[in-house]
Symmetry: C2
Subunit: 425 residues, 2 copies
């Protein structure tokens, strides 16, 4: 049995995503396809344009069999943390055999080589890495330049976002001693950062931008049928679109915080705490705030993610523990008829408990502890981390829904209200 | 030397306020007039329509000589706490000889009688008071009905807001063993809760409502010249109007809080914590939230004030200490040429330190401690309370300015940027 695993955000699902999915299937010829997807907040440090359940529906309509939620603690981390979470979820299903991801280089051997180098850092590499950090480069850039120094012949391949992420996926596979095989597909179409609308080849950024500019109709040509239909339904009922701009209010919240309050939150080092503290006092809205915080060593994405780290009370200690121990549960967002078979098989194979009904997350934990005590499973669950991770997901949803355009839709408790999406037709 | 003290909010200053001021002057024939004024948030649990410095300017233009800020911890309490703070400020100037306040009954002897009864509660009164509380009445209503039982002949006089406040002023005078003499002026014009616009006799509520409905021009007839001019200037520069509706975002903040987090904040008892917790999860905006929280024993004002208690982190312990020990400083917002003379005299008479330059509040405290140590003054300053009270004022300003309509005006640090308003012309 071959099970394909993919890491996605689908914000929103477009033809590029469909192409990747189809190519990956051709490559692996899998019996099942499993996706781990960011929830209501994405790795760029932005809210998703529609909620995770709507995006799950779209994924299932387009050929994914099971969608798991990437816990928010990983979804809003840099490439390293994001990969630890997403590969962690796929590995812990116990059934995924292959991962396929997009890559600019298309050279998985090279990516493996780099991942190995980064995992077992040579003194030569460490020296040049530290030198670049001292020069004031951001962490990812310093690493990039250090790798360039060490692997001088393959310089070009290191500057592209998909390859960087790919390296992190392989590093995570090494960390988890996973049997999953990594594969790459050479990426085509728009760069994911390209905001220009290009019809069928528009990036997700370009689609979101068009929607923000009230040109939703125009995105019809850029989106597979079900994406457009489901977005249309969500928008017409006022559960979206949700944009970063709606979070201006965090500045008022930040004005309540002292510098030390920022310091205990993940991602606040290298002086980012002071920049947040001072910029909150000066800024009139979020865009202004981000520009004020911006510095050579802080990328826009990092700044935006840090905003949500504060909003969701992501203490350093728990984020670091999350990166050490990996995801503590598998949260099912939806499945197809085929997916249901796979989930059945997973019950025997998964390496962490499966949460299908969010409101039962504490019961699931108690049952897991019982099974462990009885020797039925060999899971290693950190109880307080399990609760912390899952309650961050709940909190993220409760804040997300408050930003819906329609005030009657702004209730908390989305995770308890929605049932797992079952697409059995 | 006679110094008239008045307690005001001036939100905004209208002809009714002018009338009160002129009548009070006729009654006392004072050498100076001192006002203690709510800062950026008012006793109804709402932001002021324009900031405290603009409202200070208007007060000085209309015949007040010195304006002190009522620390926000008192400004957003019920009548009892509000009176403890405002009478505390006037008493601690050491120069105020008379207080004049509006009263529906116009009967200061009666108000004194009630204040004495409430200060030295008889067993008879306590019994009927507790009985009414048990029946589910709010604290102020239970007290009102208990007083009605005990003072059966004067029932009517107890249900009006000015008389209720007047009783609290006199209670506060008793508490501080103050020599200040209370006087009343029979109130004319609109009830302060009357939202109907009535030309020159419109209430402050009615004026704010007209402004909210974009009928600012119409308020010209309801406002003394300088009020209109200064509001016009503030609005045109985008520093107002500020309305409660702008604070919808507190609901997202509340969704981060557990029931226990509310419990440690002032005013959360009798189950208000649970109602806040649950209503935040259900509500789409602040108006909806307030309606959901509303119950027989929680008045609208109390609910709105409680919102700001959470927003400003007003822990029970410090609010209770504030009510026990009174205001720890006199914050000068502005003065006229005459007022300057009075402030000079106050330097020898005040019972707490005077803060004129907000940024020096810690220096002022250090100097005060030195003077106390040297036996130069007999002040009783609670150091941590002084800092806590003043830092609440600073925080309230920093959040207030973020709600300005003009994003370029939304900077924090208003208290450090503005100088004391000196109207020496």
């Amino acid at each position: 049995m071959r099970v394909l695993g993919i890491v996605v955000e689908y914000n929103p699902f477009h033809f590029g995503h469909l192409h990747h999915l189809e190519e990956a299937k051709k490559l692996i010829n899998p019996d099942y396809v499993v996706a781990v997807m960011s929830g209501n907040f994405c790795q760029r440090g932005e809210p998703a344009i529609v909620n995770k359940f709507a995006r799950t529906e779209i994924a299932l309509k387009n050929g994914v069999d099971v969608v798991f939620e990437l816990p928010v603690v990983y979804a809003i981390q840099d490439a390293g943390g994001f990969a630890l979470g997403s590969v962690g979820v796929l590995d812990r299903t116990g059934v995924v055999t292959d991962i396929v991801f997009g890559s600019e280089s298309g050279d998985v051997t090279f990516l493996r080589k780099v991942a190995n180098l980064l995992t077992n850092q040579t003194p030569e590499f460490e020296k040049t890495f530290k030198r670049h950090l001292k020069m004031g480069y951001s962490y990812p850039n310093a690493r990039k330049y250090a790798l360039m120094d060490v692997l001088s012949n393959d310089v070009e391949k290191l500057s592209k976002s998909n390859d960087i992420l790919g390296i992190e996926y392989i590093k995570a596979l090494i960390k988890y001693s996973s049997d999953i095989q990594p594969h790459v597909i050479k990426r085509i179409g728009a760069d994911y950062n390209d905001e220009q609308f290009k019809g069928k080849f528009s990036s997700a950024s370009a689609v979101r931008k068009a929607i923000k500019e009230n040109k939703f109709e125009q995105t019809k040509e850029a989106l597979p049928e079900w994406t457009f239909k489901i977005l249309e339904r969500e928008f017409s009922e006022g559960r979206g679109p949700v944009f970063l701009e709606y979070f201006d209010f965090v500045i008022a919240m930040f004005r309540k915080l002292k510098r030390e309050d920022f310091e205990r939150i993940y991602s606040f080092n290298e002086g980012l705490d002071l920049r947040f503290y001072e910029s909150a006092r000066e800024s009139g809205n979020l865009q202004d705030f981000v520009e004020r915080v911006k510095a050579k060593r802080f990328t826009y994405s990092r700044i935006r993610r840090a905003i949500f780290h504060v909003l969701f009370d992501m203490e350093k200690s728990f984020v670091e523990l999350s990166n050490e121990k990996g995801p503590q549960y598998l949260r099912v967002l939806g499945f197809t008829k085929r997916g249901r078979e796979l989930l059945k098989a997973m019950k025997k194979n998964s390496k962490v408990p499966i949460i299908s009904t969010a409101s039962l997350y504490r019961n699931v934990l108690e049952e897991a502890k019982k099974k462990i005590a009885e020797g039925k499973v060999s899971w290693e669950i950190d109880e307080s981390l399990y609760i912390w991770q899952f309650e961050r997901d709940l909190l993220a949803s409760d804040i997300y829904t408050f930003l819906y355009p329609n005030k009657f839709q702004r209730k908390a408790g989305m995770d308890f209200e929605y049932k797992v999406i079952e697409m059995l037709g």
